[in-house]
Amino acid sequence: MTQIDNKKIDSKIPQGTLEGKWTNYKDHQKLVNPANKRRLDVIVVGTGLAGASAAASLGEMGFNVLNFCIQDSPRRAHSIAAQGGINAAKNYPNDGDSVYRLFYDTIKGGDYRAREANVYRLAEVANEIIDQCVAQGVPFARDYGGLLDNRSFGGAQVSRTFYARGQTGQQLLLGAYSSLSRAVHKKQVKLFTRREMLDLVMIDGRARGILVRNLVTGEIERYAAHAVVIATGGYGNTFFLSTNAMTSNGSAAWQCYKKGAMFANPCMTQIHPTCIPVHGEFQSKLTLMSESLRNDGRIWVPKKLEDAVAIREGKLRPTDIKEENRDYYLERRYPAFGNLVPRDVASRAAKERCDAGYGVGNTGLAVYLDFADAIQRLGKDVVEARYGNLFQMYEKIVDDNPYQTPMMIYPAIHYTMGGVWVDYELMTSIPGCFCIGEANFSDHGANRLGASALMQGLADGYFVLPYTIQNYLSDQINVPRFKTDAPEFEQAEKEINDRVERLMNIKGTHSVDYIHKKLGHIMWDFVGMGRDAEGLKKAIADIKELKKEFWSDLRIPGDKDKLNVELEKALRLADFIEIGELMAHDALDREESCGGHFRLEYQTPDGEALRNDEKFAYVSCWEYQGEDKDPMMAKEPLDYEFVVRQQRNYKA
């Protein structure tokens, strides 16, 4: 049984009407004057949409910013891979959109497990993001009159998604990167590349610095500041196979957790319905096909079992199946939203069909995404203009032409809604430690809608944190700069060195990837799309065993104080193993189905998620209790003042 901490959690939601809260906050928050900003140092870890936009904005304002990234350039952060688009309630298409509607769709899409005030603020600042990006020279798609174009995404009945071909994340990140580069040029931001955060340093109960490993030299480096901002993305790679980049990891967030920050809703992970299916044991990552494809693609499997079997055996091709023998199961089950139901719903529906034996591909773990209708209706040229780069990407990987035969897709781990707990000011439960973007838990509840990750990352970085961090820093103007030879830094570095030494001295027989793949299998089988109590208990036991194997049988070649990629991976995997266990604990504790968290025991007669608002309308906030001790959980109740909770309905 989970131990419950009955403390009251203060999320610092401002007073006032839903529409008035953010304005009210800004009107009364404390600010820092320009002369004092120069005396304050802020560390930002990460250069994705959230990190780069925050670092650039804070630098422009006059703070002294130190910005760190794991890759060789800030432009490579994984936000770059987002394809489809970014939401905003501009209502340019005049289809009835509004800030309230964007707020409502996001709350409903998240299965009523997000904070109302945060989500409303997100919807409110979204319009400014589009203005900001256009001013930076982001080449969004336009129509012939020169105005901005929009498209539709899952979970909405309006077209509110702005896009730059299938490369929206790239263009938005390059926009933030250009602002960051300008701030570096103006010496407002100091940039540190090929550095990985290894610990958060606390002095007198506040976050005052970080330790990083210089990935080129292997040296441990110390950096001090008045505040630390974590913008290091999600922990989807716990599953080994995911759509995340190879170096995406949960370690910075996990270090904060171990230093006292609460970790919220760890079980809330998003499985994206349209990824290229797994093809073999040597596979290193999964490739996403943008949700935007569901605007024009129709998802189906054969209606007859014998057809599905024949396809799997290579005796039939999808084009051999007649129209009346195809089951367009999303259109059948969800007539109102059809192929554009939210991601969790689409993923589960695909799993349901494949589990029932109707899956295609040689593994049976795939469904079709078919563009034949769209090509007939719009012409190949239009389809190519809309999705050409995605079709090319698919063809290079699968060696099949999606203009002629339908794509094969299957769900894969894509995003983590859970993350470090933050209050309305985006501050964690450690004073002076902030967390933004995917790394925090705040805005998506139990399921994130498409094109909302880019919106949240940039909202946090451009328009929320640069305000809220001042409410904290205004108290710090008389605090002198910290020296990195303080005993707290010495102690933290000693602990890191001991940990690295311990890893190097295992001298076992298996590589990091070998053990990571095992973790991935446990996670996918028992903490994946469908979970139950028995499986989750097994997952926890298996992960504990795997942790022992990791710490007794791992082999890391090379030296600790030189460039050593295997050591980098081992440090991350040590944390993934612990994150995986916490995810299973949280999933076991949450005896309901909501959004991406689907407990097989809790479903409606027609297989939809069955929420339990009486018992589980809270954020689960986990607190670290020490090595090999079970964590405690505190609950932040989600008292809805403005929205009435309903069963999510995408049928009518």
Binding site: A81, I130, Q132, A135, T193, H279, D399, P557
Partner: protein, 251 residues
């Protein structure tokens, strides 16, 4: 249909920036042609670790062709023998049974080797920092639709903006010139009204920084365009030259 193949890998090993490098050859058996090129390198590294050797260091991250982190000269071509893709999108079906595949790092004065196949491309960041942006602070920007941009201009700007900053252009150029990279960024902004006010200053600053960092001059061989994984056109270089000359005439 994809088969399993046996191959030899002749790969550049170099312990550090100032150390002499060498080729090492490894044999790999039963590699599925359905695996990606980098998955093949993962298998090689797994094999090396299990044999007590040291894995080959190479840069990579998103593995879907967009972050620009992967590099590699494969059989004499940046990003390998396939077209319009980065190394991470290259699949083993482009190689034959028994083939010896030669893998080298980017070789360019602007990109010193860090270890094995990993090189230092921070020069590209420095060029962007010199002026590859529109000078706009956060907040206070006009409504997005108040700036009208003709469809063709937006499309051309997007074509240029698709550059992933991988460095293949400079690596393949016999002069080690970074002109395709610089011209793509200059063109993106030169084509958009938001970028016009600073167009002259931007072109001058970025070209000056490129020269300062030791990249060579462009002699229009066009190799960069051929090898660019994102098909960035050399018409961007013509546009950069125009922007640069106009800026210089005004001085």
């Amino acid at each position: 249909m994809d088969k399993d193949i046996n191959i030899k890998i002749k790969v550049w090993r170099q312990d550090g920036p100032k150390v002499k490098g060498r080729f090492e050859t490894y044999e790999l058996k039963n590699i599925s042609q359905g695996s990606s090129f980098l998955e093949m390198l993962d298998i090689l590294n797994e094999q090396l670790i299990n044999e007590g050797g040291s894995p080959v260091v190479f840069d990579h991250d998103c593995r879907e062709g967009i972050c620009g982190m992967c590099s590699l000269y494969i059989n004499g071509h940046p990003h390998g023998p396939d077209e319009d893709i980065t190394t991470c999108q290259l699949h083993m079906r482009k190689f034959k049974e028994g083939e010896t595949i030669t893998i080298e790092p980017w070789r360019s004065a602007g990109f010193p080797v860090i270890k094995d196949l990993m090189v230092d491309r921070s020069a590209y960041d420095k060029i962007i920092q010199a002026g590859g942006y529109v000078s706009v602070n956060t907040g206070g920007t006009p409504d997005a639709n108040s700036i009208l941009i003709p469809y063709e201009d937006a499309e051309m700007a997007m074509d240029a903006a698709a550059c992933v900053g991988c460095g293949a252009c400079a690596a393949t150029c016999k002069n080690g010139s970074a002109m395709l990279f610089v011209s793509a960024k200059v063109s993106q902004f030169a084509l958009l009204p938001q970028g016009r006010p600073e167009a002259a200053r931007r072109a001058k600053a970025m070209v000056a920084k490129m020269e300062e960092l030791g990249f060579g001059n462009c002699t229009n061989t066009g190799a960069c365009e051929v090898e660019c994984p994102k098909s960035i056109s050399i018409t961007n270089i013509a546009r950069l030259n125009r922007e640069y000359l106009c800026a210089k005439f005004k001085d």
